[in-house]
């Protein structure tokens, strides 16, 4: 039973998601609880697997589908980093699934069942993408994630259709480019297994075709992770996504392709290859541009969700420059930032979803006096804002610290300047919100879903908000443990030299 835990991470949610419609037909809420239960089980399997990996001193766990050995069979590989990302994804997914319950409460069975089906499938796609060890399997999971993502974005209301359709067009270009890159690599090496491909690609590392494949991967994943000039789909998509799922979409959907890119560039090809080095330089430039322009654009927004979307462009830039440094600290900073940012962004989207649920308001200049109406949410926003800016002891400080260390060891002082400037810009646009929430006089808001009581929101929504709020601080306190016990165990070999 225990040795099948890696499989359960994807198998249970996919079964539950596919059965969800049927159970929803029988009883409206049965399907949603089935999906939530399966995500709990997936979370527990992910934790078990991660514990096992850590107990083994970071030795990756290989799971062979149907006991077909690689390179012929498809395998799941869980190393410390994909393990912690699987835990992260299932955890945020679990919180988001609970959080969505009040949003779909008044809808018919078709809406509830459809929503949770898509939600479950998106969890499956993301988990699969981080744990798979096969490049074509990764494409399939990428498409599972994207297709259910388009559906969830389209569920958000009238305007979301257009956002979802445009994301679909752009996202398909990304996926096709990835597939093309896989084709090149398959034609070169004759294998689809990641570990096998890494070995066999060694003799082709200076071929022009290899450079083309790397370019395809970088652009393909760049589109999916909303790297700066390819982020056009993202603000609309995050803005109009279904408010229940927006947190999960914004928190995890752009990080997973980032991790896939890390896998290709760091684990399979190695950063000491000239082509990959060049690709990382491009990533660095795009990351810097994304950080600056994303922060400036975020300043110009008055819609809370849109501001967060542009801030995501900037945060993806942090991850990109962390990778671009190509040394150990930069890498740790990038991975740590993936984890921290997933928490921060989910927390902020949970809060704005809650405000939207109760008051139907998303304009940041109409949030006055929110600290009295929704105390927990305001506290979470405070933690998340401090973490975004990078003030200790919140998690955001530590990922920025590692990025700074990386820039210092790599002698790339330009990145230090960019990080400082962008932190200041972050401070401007987040303190603007804190000022509105805590200092401005109370805005007159009409309650769409009136709620009395201390929490200010239904329990299913207040709980995820509180947990992510605590999580941000906890990630700060335990960041040393995360880095030394988990991330350092899974560092790619090239960085250890």
């Amino acid at each position: 039973m225990m040795q099948h835990a890696p499989l359960f991470i994807v198998l249970l949610p996919v079964s539950a998601a596919l059965l969800c419609m049927f159970f929803s037909r029988l009883q409206k809420n049965l399907g949603s609880w089935l999906v939530i239960a399966s995500i709990v089980a997936a979370f527990m399997s992910a934790v078990t697997v991660l514990q096992q990996v850590i107990a083994d001193g970071g030795k990756p766990i290989h799971y062979w589908m149907g006991n077909w050995q690689p390179p012929i069979g498809i395998e799941f590989v869980i190393d410390p980093i994909s393990g912690i990302l699987a835990v992260l994804i299932t955890f945020i997914s679990l919180l988001g699934a609970l959080y969505s319950l009040p949003f779909v409460k008044d809808e018919g069975w078709l809406h509830v069942g459809g929503y949770y089906t898509l939600y479950g499938l998106m969890t499956v796609g993301m988990c699969g993408m981080v744990i798979t060890g096969d490049v074509f399997n990764l494409y399939v999971f990428l498409e599972v994630m994207s297709l259910s993502g388009y559906g969830l974005i389209a569920l958000g209301g009238k305007k979301s259709m257009l956002a979802a359709f445009r994301y679909l067009l752009i996202g398909t270009i990304g996926a096709s480019l990835y597939l093309l890159g896989v084709g090149y690599m398959y034609a070169l090496t004759g294998t689809l297994n990641m570990a096998d491909m890494a070995v066999r690609a060694a003799e082709f590392l200076n071929y022009p075709l290899f450079a083309l494949a790397v370019a395809c991967f970088v652009i393909g994943f760049g589109i999916k992770m909303a790297l700066f000039p390819l982020h056009g789909w993202q603000p609309d998509a995050y803005n109009y996504a279904h408010p229940g799922s927006a947190a999960f979409i914004a928190g995890c959907m752009s990080k997973v392709p980032a991790y896939a890119m890390i896998r290709f560039l760091f684990y399979m090809f190695g950063v000491d290859t000239p082509v990959v080095r060049a690709a990382l330089d491009v990533l660095g430039i795009l990351g810097v541009a994304g950080i600056l322009l994303g922060s400036v654009m975020a300043l110009a927004q008055y819609d809370f969700r849109r501001m967060l979307a542009y801030s995501s462009v900037a945060q993806i830039g942090y991850i990109a420059i962390g990778l671009a440094m190509g040394n150990m600290y930069g890498f740790i900073g990038a991975v740590l930032h993936i984890i921290n940012h997933a928490f921060m962004k989910s927390a902020l989207f949970f809060v704005i979803g809650g405000i939207q649920y109760r008051f139907g308001e998303v304009n940041i200049y109409r949030l006055g006096g929110m600290n009295k109406k929704m105390a927990i949410s305001s506290l979470t926003v405070t933690f998340a804002a401090l973490s975004m800016i990078g003030i200790p002891p919140t998690g955001g400080f530590f990922s920025k610290w590692y990025l700074l260390l990386g820039a210092y060891t790599g002698a790339e002082y330009f990145y230090i300047g960019v990080l400082v400037v962008s932190s200041l810009l972050n401070a401007i646009y987040f303190f603007r919100i804190l000022e509105q929430m805590f200092i401005q006089r109370e805005a007159s808001l009409t309650e769409v879903h009136p709620h009395k009581g201390k929490l200010g929101l239904p329990v299913a929504m207040a709980l995820p908000i509180a947990v992510t709020g605590i999580g941000i601080v906890a990630l700060g306190f335990y960041s040393v443990d995360i880095v030394t016990d988990i991330i350092k165990l899974g560092l790619p070999e090239v960085l250890l030299k």
Partner: protein, 124 residues
């Protein structure tokens, strides 16, 4: 002439496939109608499928069915890309289905699938 022949023999089909791929992207960028954008997207996906099928091809190779007589793997064409592309075709079918469903809803909401018209009504 020699050069041209050599080029057509080795790279000709791949060049055509790449032209098809970028024609698809070109169409997605420039078409003013969402339906045409969707069709251009399909062209792009088909180009990727062609690409896989092209490099699976082998001169004088036969269909990859083990008949018990020819046990030499070199006599067969590579079946794996074809298998992969079955999956990719299913994925592209799914994408097209989702896109068509979204287009129907867009048409319901905005009364048009012309980009200019939809954007004008969306900004109101």
């Amino acid at each position: 002439m020699e050069v041209l022949n050599e080029f057509l023999k080795t790279k000709g089909i791949y060049s055509l496939v790449m032209i098809l791929f970028f024609l698809g992207i070109y169409g997605m960028v420039l078409a003013k109608n969402y339906m045409k954008k969707l069709m251009a997207m399909n062209v792009m996906q088909v180009a990727v499928i062609y690409f896989y099928l092209c490099f699976a091809q082998k001169d004088g190779g036969m269909i990859p069915v083990l008949d018990g007589i020819t046990n030499n793997p070199n006599a067969y064409i590579n079946p794996l890309p074809h298998g992969l592309m079955l999956t990719a075709i299913v994925v592209s079918l799914g994408t097209t289905g989702v896109a068509l469903a979204l287009l129907m809803r867009i048409k319901e909401i905005y009364g048009s699938v012309e980009e200019v018209e939809v954007l004008r009504r969306a900004s109101k």
